[in-house]
Symmetry: C2
Subunit: 220 residues, 2 copies
Amino acid sequence: METVPVWLRERRTGVGRPAERSRAEVTAAAITLADREGLAAVSMRRVAAELGTGAASLYRYVDSRDDLLDLMTDEAAAAYQLPPPGGPWLAGLLEVCRQGRELMLRHPWLPELVLTRSALGPHGTDLLEHVLAILAEHPAGAGRKLEAFAVMSTLTAALALNEMNGSSGARQRQGAYLAHVIAAGRHPHLTAALTGGPLTPAPRFEETLSRVLVGLLGEE
Amino acid sequence: METVPVWLRERRTGVGRPAERSRAEVTAAAITLADREGLAAVSMRRVAAELGTGAASLYRYVDSRDDLLDLMTDEAAAAYQLPPPGGPWLAGLLEVCRQGRELMLRHPWLPELVLTRSALGPHGTDLLEHVLAILAEHPAGAGRKLEAFAVMSTLTAALALNEMNGSSGARQRQGAYLAHVIAAGRHPHLTAALTGGPLTPAPRFEETLSRVLVGLLGEE
DNA sequence: TTCCCTTCGAGAACATCGTTCGCGAACACT
DNA sequence: AGTGTTCGCGAACGATGTTCTCGAAGGGAA
């Protein structure tokens, strides 16, 4: 049972044969592959092929596929452009959410990893530090601030996931079933909600997160 | 490309050899297995073994493993005890969340499925209908009500997942890395948040969802 | 330069996975 | 009894994560 996290396993000293690749290269290859063919395509063998090596070689850089997924998540978080904190806290948090959404649209595999795997790496902790800095003057307790961070991440990922499923084939199946449910006539409120006009304008991403964050942290 | 959802595929008429099992039995076996050994143990072979049959037989009842996962999710939602709507809407929604949390603690595999797979089956639509009934008098538009349902489900699942990770080995790794980050001294706000007292009382589940829902739907 | 010790690369192997094929057996209906 | 249709499922295919193993490669000491 290895209790040391991925991010702490250190490169050995200059003794022995030097590695031909780096953990960063492996991570980058996995991200490239996931961007191109989806998360399901990220197998050890495919990632290795992307690098022109054998599958077993990857285990010199990564303990397991799960480790690699964590590395991908954290590496993606490196793209955040964190402005110096200042100004109203709500605007600061919304900017983080906005960038998060763009990141997830650019990396369609990210939401799933963020939602089901909560490990914070170096860039993840940088992001959390930034959020806490934005909230430094806020009177809420530390527990609530940490919770606000979790809620932000979760909802950003979930909303981005919903957005992307819009063009998927899953949406068609869901629509077909909902049509059946409506036709059955036993769900009056659902029917009214889905057929009443052009489905009242879907609340916009930023407005939703703004309302949630205000509810969580107060108007201030 | 099959555009008809799982829930609509109907049992054939009485012609031919009758099936020895039902889709409900297969689903129940998968749930039993997942409860006992986790979602990763739910393979077609293991589920079949649970039923005392061959793996290939399951494909008479289910098109794919993904279908089976959707069936598990919806079957779990059958356990909701939906009281007749009435009283203040916030209390009604919180009751749904409370039951949802208990469900997820009883079925530790549920959050992952709810978070990454959004298909609504018969029981899922019943639940949505119930939520919309609770909000029938609420002035918000249909879009916002549907969104509130999505946010409720997502946050309930995510918070339950966090609760359960408390006893996992993943928490230890995360703690070890956070200790390292604190020791490095480059994250003052994070350090303050994690070392300031006994980590200000973690905001309680219901209070969190109450604040979020009020933020989303207004005080009314 | 020579040697050694450590580390690396990766082919082969193992257990397991989701899924398909094909066929014999079983039942309902005429 | 015969026929049409469905069911159960052994066998097989391709792919997966991971471990074992060992030859090769390079740095530092001699």
